[in-house]
């Protein structure tokens, strides 16, 4: 008797796509001059035409936000909270629709968009709704003031979750926003715009301008925004830092990472294996805080790798809409090319490549879960962010060596520690230069917990009380 999982596809019928989506400015959708196509990366099928916002469109959006700021910032916090609670509840009610659309446009498995992304999105709105009338306790003294109009640019790896991280605290603090979703994943942000309409959010409080790099540039450089919040590549982050230098704009940047996931010889091995898998293959490794460098103590390296390979053979790679899929599609042809280039470089530099045996679909963008062993610190795959399902394995002999290797990176976003020894967790976490450190777990997010990086991983914190600070200033005395 056999027992093979039959296809268990989540129906996409709940999503009603329009042929064309305009820009969401001042509470209504307006046409753009030019459109671009957005696709499903798992099939390369066209999904919808999306307006590309020009500099003039961005200007209109910023003006709308400026006008809305007048009343939104003066509204009682408890009233702003009502809108945010309403949005949070609508997100929960429409979570299946949002999850399906997220997987269609991003390529991530429906299990993750359903069980991770959407619950966190709602949680962020609920969390910051609760803050809206308690800003006196945000850490900036009594009666802190909003900044004004925030220009927000988000990446394609967690489209709706990054939107929530940006919009929820900004609105709770009394700011208005112009948000640009990533070029390849605009659809859930546009559905969110419809939710703003459904929630009767005052016009202009949230504006969504779709487009690519030029649209983002126009937003960052607009003279009438007070704050830039960006999540994305370190390269663009550098440009933004330069562009706003010498202006009054406040900036937060959440950039790349090359996190060390450190496994000690006294770790709970089976759970560490799950943590390694979750650390690098969650969301196809399209995670800025992914545990892309496995640092494993030499004495158990062989055991850990043996179990890891066995475990990876069970990863189900394929159709993101199948409820049993563990690893979905790479988000774009460009990202796939980058992953391939770095992986080829890894091989060329002398590391050993192993990929989980799996049959990849013919259409769409796919990369098998891959492990590199015999990796040295000098290899590109040990230093550069792959942003894909590629794990580099390095070994260490002592805790000091682990710290040294983990910190030997221009990045410092996250790190993981696996040991059954509590004192070692405390000691290691005080020495690791990373914004988020997970102990005996990985890729855990919570609306109440601040998130952000050291060094080239950026600055500023999102989430929790700390996540309000970038959107507030102390009352002028």
């Amino acid at each position: 008797m056999s027992f093979e999982y039959a296809p268990a596809p989540e129906s996409t019928s709940i999503v009603k796509l329009k042929p064309t989506y305009g820009l969401f400015i001042n509470g209504v959708f307006v046409d753009g001059e030019k459109n671009f196509s957005t696709i499903n990366p798992a099939t390369e099928a066209h999904l919808a035409h999306i307006a590309e916002a020009s500099e003039a469109d961005v200007d209109r959006a910023v003006r709308a936000a400026r006008v809305a700021f007048g009343s939104w910032s003066k509204m009682r916090g408890s009233d702003r909270a009502k809108y945010l609670y309403r949005i949070a509840r609508i997100i929960q009610e429409r979570s299946r629709e949002l999850a399906v659309l997220e997987s269609m446009n991003n390529g991530k498995p429906i299990r993750e968009s359903r069980d991770v992304d959407l619950p966190l999105v709602a949680a962020h709105f609920f969390h910051y709704a609760g803050w809206a009338d308690k800003l006196d306790y945000a850490g900036l003294g009594e009666n802190p003031q909003p900044l004004g109009v925030a220009g927000q640019i988000i990446p394609w790896n967690f489209p709706l979750l990054m939107l929530a991280w940006k919009i929820a605290p900004a609105l709770a603090a009394g700011n208005t926003v112009v948000l640009k979703p990533a070029e390849t994943t605009p659809l859930t942000a546009l559905l969110f715009a419809e939710i703003c309409q459904q929630a009767d959010l005052p016009a202009g409080v949230v504006n969504i301008v779709t487009g690519a790099g030029e649209t983002g540039r126009a937003l960052v450089n607009h003279p009438d925004i007070n704050k830039v919040a960006f999540t994305g590549s370190t390269e663009v982050g550098r440009y933004i830092a330069q562009a706003v230098a010498g202006t009054n704009k406040k900036v937060t940047l959440e950039l790349g990472g090359k996190a060390a996931n450190i496994v000690f010889d006294d770790a709970a091995i089976d759970q560490a294996i799950e943590g390694i898998v979750n650390g690098i293959f969650f969301n196809q490794g399209h995670v800025c805080c992914a545990g892309s460098r496995l640092l494993v103590q030499e004495s158990i390296a062989e055991t850990v790798l043996g179990l890891l390979y066995e475990r990876m053979k069970n990863l189900r790679v394929g159709d993101p809409m199948d409820k049993n899929t563990d690893v979905g599609a790479i988000n774009s042809a460009a990202q796939l090319a980058k992953i391939r280039e770095l992986s080829d470089a890894g091989e060329a530099e002398g590391a050993d490549r192993w990929s989980a045996p799996c049959t990849l679909p013919e259409k769409g963008f796919w990369f098998p879960p891959t492990v590199f062993t015999n990796v040295s610190q000098v290899h590109r795959i040990a230093r550069e962010e792959v942003f894909g399902p590629v794990l580099s394995v390095l070994t260490f002999r002592t805790p000091d060596e682990a710290v040294e290797k983990a910190n030997n990176s221009p990045y410092g976003l996250s790190a993981g520690i696996w040991t059954e020894k509590g004192s070692r967790i405390l000691e290691m976490s005080s020495r690791l230069r990373a914004g988020v450190i997970w102990a005996n777990t990985f890729n855990k997010f919570d609306a109440t917990s601040p998130f952000g990086g050291y060094k080239e991983s950026g600055y500023g914190r999102e989430g929790g009380r700390q996540g309000l600070e970038p959107y507030l200033k102390a009352a002028s005395k």
Binding site: M1, S2, F3, E4, Y5, A6, A8, R111, D115, D266, A267, A268, I269, D270, Q271, E274, G275, G306, N314, K323, N324, E420, N440, T441
Partner: protein, 319 residues
């Protein structure tokens, strides 16, 4: 003692020489992080088992059931209906597989055997002062040999949890070894009563202890203590079985028992086995479900898959 389990015992001769050496070995096993184990089990329970997978899983699950009655009020009549049900779980559909075994108290073995003559269904007997295990070793061994003499094909013994929790691992080890000898050719399932051992570290230690002592199967619970089988406890035991096999040892079987009531529950256990040990363990020789009420739910779901309509509890037999 069978040849293979003898080999295991000799491989671990140093570890099992004294209580101190056995303690050192068991406490040297990698720890289990409870949060992580719970999460993994929860993630696997989200697997969506539909259509053909569900049909395969239901038949597989039925064929793996140890159909059980362990009551003071068990009568010859009860054993008879149970054995009839074991052979033909669904009287209206002869394509329904029979279950793997019936599981009874030792004094009911002869009756069960007589009702199952000529079938491939095994008779399992609980022994060793089940369910508490609170009797002298002599009584436990007699309990075992008596059931074997009555014709039991399988013995489900309980470990001495008191001794285990006191750290007298060698006593537990030797008792399992002696029961194994008393089993002769009967297969030995070793019950830990994980609801009393409580921690996953204990569950992993008990698993190794039983495997090196000669268990053919390791089993979660008696069904008389709550919590009985859970998914994470089963996961930890399956991982121990995997590690034992990776160490060059025999394939050990697994039996979660108690608290498995619905088809969904049963399928979740099969998923756990498939993704931890692989398809090689998806056979009644290496995996059993200790349960009784789950059978009727499996039968109802089976009929629903075939006919598209849910017939309800009046269309399956109450035994």
């Amino acid at each position: 003692m069978g040849l293979t389990s003898q080999a295991a015992a000799s491989t671990f001769a140093d570890e099992t020489r004294t209580n101190a050496s056995l303690t050192k070995f068991l406490h040297g096993l990698p720890g289990v992080d409870q949060v992580g184990a719970d999460e993994r089990a929860a993630m696997l329970s989200t697997r969506s088992i539909k259509t053909s997978a569900k049909a395969e899983g239901i038949d597989l699950a039925i064929s793996m059931i140890d159909l059980t009655t362990l009551e003071g009020m068990d009568t010859a009549g009860k054993i008879k209906t149970l054995c009839a049900k074991a052979q033909r779980p669904d009287p209206f559909d002869p394509t329904t597989p029979s279950v793997a075994a019936v599981c009874v108290y030792g004094d009911k073995v002869a009756q069960a055997k007589s009702y199952l003559t000529g079938t491939s269904i095994q008779v399992a007997a609980v022994a060793t002062a089940f369910p508490s295990g609170r009797a002298s070793r002599a009584v436990k061994l007699l309990d075992t040999s008596d059931a074997v003499a009555q014709g039991a094909d399988e013995i489900d013994m309980v470990i001495d949890r008191g001794a285990f929790l006191e750290g007298r691992y060698l006593d537990v080890f030797e008792e399992i070894q002696e029961v194994k000898v008393a089993c002769k050719s009967a297969h030995l399932k070793v019950i830990f009563e994980t609801g009393e051992l409580r921690t996953y570290d204990n569950v992993r230690r008990a698993s190794w202890l039983a495997m090196i002592a000669g268990a053919d199967f390791i089993k979660t619970s008696t069904g008389k203590v709550a919590p009985a089988a859970t998914l994470p406890v089963t996961l930890v035991m399956l991982q121990a079985i995997r590690d034992f096999h990776n160490a060059g040892q025999r394939k050990i079987g697994m039996k979660p028992a108690g608290g498995i009531r619905t088809t969904k529950d049963a399928l979740r256990y099969l998923v756990l086995v498939k993704e931890t040990l692989g398809d090689a363990w998806l056979t009644p020789d290496l995996f059993r479900l200790g349960a009784s009420s789950v059978l009727n739910d499996l039968l109802m779901q089976r009929k629903k898959l075939q006919t598209g309509a849910y017939s309800g509890p009046d269309y399956v037999t109450v035994d």
